[in-house]
Amino acid sequence: MLFPTLDFGLFFLLVFALAWGLKDWNTGRKLILVAASYAFYAYWDWRFCGLLLASSLINHAAGMAIGNSPDRRFRKQILTLAIAANLGILGFFKYYDFFILSLNDLAFQLGIERELPFLEIILPVGISFFTFQGISYVVDVYRRDVRPQASLLNLLLYISFFPQLVAGPIVRASVFMPQIEQPPRADRILAGLGLILITIGLFKKMVVANYLATEMVDWIFLDPYFYGTGDLLLGVYGYAIQIYCDFSAYSDIAIGVAALLGFRFQKNFDQPYKAESLRDFWRRWHISLSTWLRDYLYIPLGGSKGGRWATRRNLFLTMLLGGLWHGAAWNFVLWGVLHGAGLVVERALGWTRQAAKRPLWRRALAGLIVFHFVCLTWIFFRSADLDGAIEYLLGFARFDQPVEFATPLVLSLLAIGFAMHLIPGDTIDRVERALRPVPLWLQGALCGIAIVVIDAMGPEGVAPFIYFQF
């Protein structure tokens, strides 16, 4: 079920009414939210629900065993088992095909023509996101950062909560659990903020991202051979804005929908193309994933405690694995390698130190360099394969080609995308404060009108969010 559809609108209205109707009976409210989350997931394929349930049961059992045992060795063994189970499920669904394909290709090159059998494996949407939440829960219990959840219902809700189930943000148990243990107070919900985030998210996705994709980006990346320097530059700028508007829109809507149900999640994007270093970029882009990678991969690898070279190795490995997480393909590997190498070089050169004290022109220049480096990596990320990415890069030398895509619509969309990065970072909060005197019913009505206008403005059809595939 996609957010920008009537189906989801009706589904959410029902869930909203039931959840708030049961606010004085917290168990009932949680039951409704779990049922709604499983119904939301079953909308894609009901068979996936078994996997979601299995993941929840494994992590619940592991959390209880780890949390209730004083034996450090036993706790570590259970943690290892739980992580292996989580990663095993993820790896099977995400990498089995690639693994068999690679083995078969290798065997073929060695003159062995017999192929290993493929299985028809359907990648369940959101599997990465709920697996990461499961891992963070058991690790946090092991680290004693959160208490083990005796209530299976709580854990079922934590793993399956529908607003962020399929594409994040990845929410930590330490943030989520306290919010479900107490019923929400109607006078404390951030309804205004929720409505603003939903409206902005729908605009970013349905208008900016969808138009950029259909009017320009898809065409250029389909075959970059036909385009010259100008169009290829526009194409990659367009993709940078498209993927930001697509992915951050999902997070905005997820956070907004959760806010209307009485939950408060941290923001997942913070004007990423304003970053003055790659390190800064990763503090602004997909924040819940980058902090997850930091806490559950970079730090367990040793973080920055093992000296200069170990730190660089850990940074590089973290980004490489982050790239591989997006998919078993060489272009994603290169994307991760470039980001990892960029972070290592930046650290070695000390570019991240005292960045805020630099003069404005140096900060602007750093921002431009970082943005263009990120754009370079997006070429690998978006291209169908490595050959396509190389073709794209070679095309930058075709200076004599006319520019076809610099239409008023495309330039306006790019301008909107960049303007989102130039306005003050707290604009949404300030608008929310400014709208507080407006009665909630009127805010809801304005949001409804805005959604109708956005729906009329966007291209026809509903394109899935880019990050559903990961």
Binding site: D97, L101, N104, D105, F108, E115, F118, E120, I122, L123, F203, V207, Y211, T214, E215, D218, W219, L222, D223, Y225, F226, A384, P408, L409, S412, L413, A415, I416, A419, I423, P424, T427, R430, V431, R433, A434, R436, P437, V453, A456, M457, G458, P459, E460, G461
Partner: protein, 264 residues
């Protein structure tokens, strides 16, 4: 609490941009997305064959593969006239007969490759009302009449038409309905001497059943079908497009020269 004044400035800017965008976007939708036919060139140039791939999301996959295989060849122009989630069952939602007239007026083409029907396994609507139930004799007759109307319009316009049949699907019921539709397309095509290109045999395994993984043209097993059990992966689109081009080649000499070059 005093209301801060500054947030209104960006809000006004965004409102202005929104209005400007709405003005751009609305006429665009009325004309149809340029992306639909952006690659089109008027036919008639000596030595240039303009091929339009028409139909639903299955046609989009074929267009994509054909475009990447032939568009770089100066002798071809590969045009996309596809509209996802459409068919012949709901002309109240999308009327292909009318669209074809408009598209042909805007962009004359030499050859049309049409495949449609994925979304037609439902009741047929007449004037916005459910009128013929899937599986009934009336459904078959009315559906055939709609198929024939499309074929006739393209033939009257002097376009060389190739009708591509539907592939097998993971769902057995869906496949059975599509097989019935294939019989309708093939019969209507035979009556009009329109070449019918079946995809069924290309998309089944050695046992004649649905398979997500099939050998490619080098004999290496690849994932051909998307997770939905309906659409095709890039490799899968290449597989069915190869069958389409092979079937077209006796009728379109330029394609035969391309394929002959590859065979060498």
């Amino acid at each position: 609490m005093p209301v801060p004044a500054s947030p209104l400035r960006p809000a006004v800017c965004i409102l202005v941009l929104l209005t400007a965008l709405a003005l751009y976007a609305m006429p665009l939708r009325a004309q149809g997305s340029p992306g639909e036919n952006g690659a089109a060139q008027a036919g008639g140039d000596d030595g240039l064959t303009t091929i339009a791939v028409m139909g639903d999301s299955l046609a989009y996959g074929i267009w994509r593969s054909m475009y990447s295989q032939l568009q770089r060849d100066d002798r071809f122009e590969i045009v996309r006239w596809t509209e996802a989630a459409t068919g012949l069952a709901r002309p109240d939602f999308f009327d292909w007969s009318r669209s074809i007239d408009e598209l042909l007026t805007q962009h004359p083409v030499d050859v049309a490759v049409m495949t449609i029907g994925l979304n037609d396994m439902q009741a047929l609507y007449v004037d916005g009302a459910r009128s013929y139930t899937l599986g009934s004799g009336e459904w078959d007759r009315e559906y055939r009449a709609r198929v024939e109307r499309i074929m006739d319009r393209l033939q009257v316009a002097g376009v060389d038409l190739f009708w591509v049949g539907l592939p097998i699907m993971r769902s057995a019921t869906y496949s059975a309905n599509l097989a019935n539709a294939n019989r309708i397309y093939a019969a209507a095509a035979a009556e009009r001497q329109v070449p019918f290109i079946p995809l069924w045999d290309v998309t089944v395994d050695a046992d004649g059943t649905y398979a997500s993984h099939l050998p490619d043209r080098r004999g290496r097993t690849r994932k051909m079908r998307d997770n939905d059990g309906i659409h095709f992966t890039i490799d899968g689109n290449n597989l069915i497009t190869a069958a389409v081009l092979e079937a077209m080649s006796p009728h379109v000499p330029m394609i035969e020269t391309v394929l002959a070059g590859r065979r060498r």
